[in-house]
């Protein structure tokens, strides 16, 4: 699978998907006009990747400063896929970064509480400390 690197813009996130190293990140803003059109191909690729995983150590960093409600649906989809991968015997670490924004922390907590298998932590990028959940 070809690695993916997309530069962020004012309203779309920077994306790095390294399928060889099993390291992934979403950064910045996400409220573009056609959210589904932007994410659908990524989700499809990620789904195929996750299904083929076997005993891998995966890390996914979410460092979003703002995302709209259409993007929230995508984020939850990614969480669900990652949790399934963890259930399937892979070591999955999800890290939710924020810079002190209360809504962002709350959203991370809410998405994180549905995870049953993946390891989840909320990271305060200002304080550089990890709050265990």
């Amino acid at each position: 699978m070809e690695n993916l690197k997309i530069e962020g813009t004012e309203n779309s996130p920077g994306i790095e998907f390294d399928f060889q190293a099993n390291v992934f990140s979403l950064r910045g803003m996400s409220f573009m006009e056609d959210v589904n059109g932007f994410y659908d191909p990524l989700i499809e690729t990620f789904q195929r990747y996750v299904e083929a995983l076997n005993g891998a150590a995966v890390q996914f960093d979410f460092s979003l400063s703002y995302f709209n409600s259409s993007t929230a649906r995508i984020v939850l989809m990614l969480f669900d896929m990652l949790d399934l991968a963890a259930e399937g015997g892979n070591e999955v670490i999800i890290r939710w970064h924020h810079d002190g924004d209360e809504d962002m922390i709350e959203q991370g907590e809410e998405f994180g509480e549905d995870l049953e298998h993946a390891q989840f932590s909320i990271v305060d990028d200002q304080a550089d400390e990890i709050v265990a959940v």
């Binding site: 004012e10 309203n11 409220f31 573009m32 006009e33 959210v35 589904n36 703002y66 709209n68 409600s69 259409s70 929230a72 649906r73 939850l76 002190g100 924004d101 209360e102 809504d103 962002m104 809410e110 549905d114």
Partner: protein, 185 residues
């Protein structure tokens, strides 16, 4: 010719309603981006509370995208999915003594008023836990028919509007009504 006295009245009325920003016309993603950034800058200049600023920006984005997606005041062929269409609406940001508010308005079909009103009434009746549950459920469900996003925009607005929200429907003609939503961050 536009009557400047009339325009002054409108401008004055907006001031009296404590509106600090107002946009009426065709709303595009470009408008959303530049106005959204201007609002952020303004809030930084007056050193508004950071969490409130983020909420104001988030509510503004959801409201503007609602107009861009669903306003029935359309220039262009709405039925043609490939065609560029422009949708008209109203966006305003204001400040009362305690809170900022973000208001939007757009034309809708009168046939949709009942469904929309029921939806908003239900959202308004929920407490924080109820809103959270509805938010997650809606995100996991398939988007409702006719939705161009996740169908969860109003729930998101309600959750961020710590001072509550209000809505109004005004009949325009036999088939159309004007829909207003005002959220207090």
């Amino acid at each position: 010719m536009a009557d400047l006295d009339k325009i002054h009245e409108i401008q004055d009325a907006l001031n009296n309603e404590q509106i600090i920003f107002c946009y009426a016309g065709y709303i595009t993603e470009d408008v959303l981006l530049s106005v959204g950034n201007t609002i952020k800058q303004k809030l930084e200049v007056v050193q508004a509370d950071r969490n409130a600023s983020r909420a104001i920006f988030a509510i503004f984005v959801e409201e503007a995208q609602n107009v861009i997606r669903y306003s029935k005041a359309v220039l262009g062929d709405e039925a043609d999915e490939e065609a560029d269409v422009l949708r008209r609406g109203f966006l305003a940001v204001g400040k009362t003594d305690e809170r900022y508010f973000v208001c939007c308005g757009n034309l809708i079909q009168r046939a949709d008023v009942e469904r929309l009103e029921g939806h908003l009434k239900h959202i308004k009746s929920l407490d924080a836990d109820g809103l959270k549950a509805l938010y997650k459920k809606t995100l996991r469900d398939d988007p409702p028919e006719g939705s161009k996003g996740a169908g969860v925009g109003f729930v998101d607005i309600a959750r961020r509007a710590k001072g509550g929200f209000d809505y109004r429907f005004k009949d325009v003609d036999d088939t159309h009504a004007y829909f207003y939503l005002n959220a207090y961050a």
